[in-house]
């Protein structure tokens, strides 16, 4: 087999840049859908660690609750979905 061609990554003008690291992608996802840093109406700020937030997201998505940013969790975060948060506030 020939070694895979070294494909060049190009920045496309007008592209909504989504080149984030996996950790950045996860952090953004967990915040956007209410798993992290949710501020409640009563002002109560539930400080949830990223690992705990990951476990909650994994439970919501029916994934194994590892609390780790594993492959299947990362894949799930890249899937097209509804914009409504999973943790309502």
């Amino acid at each position: 087999w020939s070694r895979p061609l070294k494909s060049t990554t190009v920045t496309f003008s007008g592209d909504i840049i989504k080149n984030m690291t996996d950790t950045e992608l996860a952090e953004t996802y967990l915040k956007k859908f209410g798993y992290l840093n949710t501020v409640h109406r009563s002002g109560f700020q539930s400080m949830v660690s990223t690992s705990k937030a990951l476990k909650r997201m994994q439970r919501q998505m029916g994934l194994e609750e590892t609390g780790e940013l594993d492959k299947s969790t990362l894949e799930a975060m890249k899937q097209p979905r509804c914009g409504v948060p999973d943790v309502a506030n």
Binding site: T9, F12, D15
Partner: protein, 574 residues
């Protein structure tokens, strides 16, 4: 399934909707039809009816938009977020927004309804063959007027069935020209345009004049996307140009080269290296019907489900022969009840009955039969009257027994009579309930049977009057052995009790003496705004109390935190 906090549902069954604008990806007829079918998903299983309005304000205002589209939640370009919707209510509440950087279809590639031709508006058949060549998109081959067309069967040469594809040369949509086709070239702000443009607009939609001079006539319409139109990128509405050159290599079809996300793109000129004009190639697209049915679920009061096969699951997946999952049906019927006969005229709830409380864990606590005042109070002699409850900062547990608040601590308890606002005690636990240990983690009175349940560590006792059953292990109830202690108990509806431990809670079916399926759930996901490590949870006078240290968070029947206060001053009246 889940519903939104605070009992969010429409207070009428004849819900109205209005389509404010259209996506260029599909003919407006197809979009109208997709939305109507999406509403039918819900009207088929509830008394709800959906009426379309063409002006004014409807309950559910539907619109397409891109990135920042006028609310605090911008979309994110192609893929990622597809759409969002707001729970029922006034103003923007109830509205549904769809990301128009997506490629909207019926979920299986370009949904192209033909016009004119000889196929009576039939949909294009992809692939089709024409003069020995196979086509997966509309084509202008065989024509000199640049009008895109397609066959409506697999083989044009045999069946000769065809129609024209969406093109700005045939029609426009929206605007003020009643769908008239574009006129090229046209003048706009003194400049001449030979094709549709986004100039003069901030929402990225392509438009054209329907006369040769917009400056003079002000007549315009929006340009439908051709099925070969690229999506997103910086050439909205242009078509791929094949072959094109990229990094010095020639490409005859879409490629994912140059991208890390594997998405297929193409250049819209013959040389990307020089012109940098590009866009994503049309793919299967997202089913507007499926996404709309999901979003309308939100607009009716359903939150996300954690059942992967349910429509209200947050992630998109295409389903060929769609039907609502049982979980979705249970959720929507929890809010609006089942469909009632052919002509749903559900009995309007009279003022005394309260609307069903929107969550399977809950019925409105104020619905609970208030425990009757005790006819015979068991008088036990108070021990060491110097033990003053007001000197304690934290109790082992607080609960309501025979209508009065009881405060337990280290083998003693104090009683707040529901008549007088005065606390009596301390009394000895062992005198009244001899089988119990000194430290009680939580307790509750089953409102139907008047049995008293006491929890301490991993054991529990059940008192019926003076007779007791226990101690037994809490695993007997179906609680996991990982639980160290039960810290709170909350009667919910007839014969259901929520048992809290750590950051989670389980629902006990008291009659079956078993934990219900679908638990545990995270406390702060369902009871937003209270500490998720409360050491005590109880129901008192229709409110839910979460206690931590000296404080309590009080939640009303709409699951809103309506007070935070001191146990000592507000509950013990010290």
């Amino acid at each position: 399934y889940k519903t939104f906090d605070g009992d969010l549902k429409w207070d009428h069954n004849n819900v109205t909707y209005r389509i404010l604008n259209y996506s260029p990806d599909m003919a407006s007829f197809l979009i109208d039809d997709a939305f109507a079918r999406a509403f039918k998903v819900w009207s088929d299983v509830t008394p709800l009816t959906f009426t379309r309005l063409f002006d004014g304000t409807a309950d559910i205002m539907i619109s397409f938009g891109k990135t920042d589209h006028g609310d605090p939640y911008p979309f994110d370009g192609k893929d990622g977020l597809l759409a969002h919707a707001y729970p029922p209510g006034e103003g923007m509440q109830g509205d549904a927004h769809f990301d128009d950087d997506e490629y909207w279809s019926l979920g299986k590639g370009p949904a192209v309804k033909t016009l004119y031709g000889n196929a009576d508006g039939a949909m294009c058949h992809f692939p089709f063959t024409f003069e020995g060549k196979s086509y997966t998109t509309c084509t202008t081959d065989g024509r000199s007027d640049d009008l895109p067309w397609c066959a409506t069967t697999a083989d044009y040469s045999r069946d000769k069935k065809y129609g024209f594809c969406p093109s700005e040369l045939l029609y426009t949509f929206g605007g003020n020209a009643n769908g008239a086709e574009c006129v090229f070239p046209f003048v706009f702000l003194g400049n001449e345009y030979d094709s549709c443009t986004t100039e003069g607009r901030s929402d990225g939609y392509r438009w054209c004049a329907t006369t040769d001079n917009f400056d003079k006539d002000k007549k315009y319409g929006f340009c439908p996307s051709r099925d070969t139109t690229v999506i997103g990128g910086n050439s909205e509405g242009e078509s791929c140009h094949f072959p094109f050159v990229f990094l010095g290599k020639e490409y005859d079809s879409c490629t994912s080269e140059g991208r890390g996300d594997g998405k297929l793109w193409c250049s819209t000129t013959d040389n990307y290296d020089e012109d940098k004009k590009w866009g994503f190639c049309p793919d299967q697209g997202y089913s507007l019907f499926l996404v709309a049915a999901h979003e309308f679920g939100h607009a009716l009061g359903l939150d996300h489900s954690n059942i992967r096969e349910a429509l209200m699951f947050p992630m998109y997946s295409y389903v060929e022969d769609f039907s609502l999952h049982r979980d979705d049906i249970e959720g929507i019927q929890y809010l609006y009840g089942p469909k009632t006969g052919p002509d749903p005229t559900p009995p309007q709830p009279d003022s005394t009955t309260t609307a069903p409380y929107p969550d399977p864990d809950e019925t409105d606590p104020t619905d609970e039969p208030e425990p009757t005042e005790p006819t015979t109070t068991t008088t036990t002699r108070p021990v060491d009257p110097t033990k003053d409850a007001c000197k304690l900062t934290k109790f082992d547990t607080i609960t309501v027994i025979e209508g009065g608040l009881h405060f337990f601590k280290d083998g003693h308890y104090w009683k707040m009579s529901s008549r007088s606002d005065k606390v009596n005690g301390p009394f000895s636990i062992s005198e009244r309930w001899p089988a119990l240990p000194a430290v009680i983690d939580s307790a509750f009175e089953d409102l139907l049977t008047k049995k008293l349940y006491f929890f301490s560590g991993t054991r529990f006792w059940v008192y019926t009057g003076k007779s007791v059953l226990g101690p037994r292990s809490i695993e007997k109830l179906g609680l996991p052995n990982s639980i160290q202690k039960v810290e709170g108990a909350l009667q919910r509806g007839k014969g259901k009790v929520l048992l809290f431990s750590g950051e989670e809670y389980w629902r006990l079916d008291v009659k079956a003496q078993k934990i219900d399926n679908g638990y545990p759930r995270y406390t702060d996901v369902v009871f937003g705004g209270v500490p998720n490590d409360a050491h005590d949870v109880f129901l008192y006078k229709g409110h839910i109390y979460f206690c931590r240290d000296r404080f309590y968070w009080r939640m009303n029947s709409r699951r809103q935190v309506d007070r935070v206060g001191y146990v000592k001053y507000d509950l013990l009246r010290c």
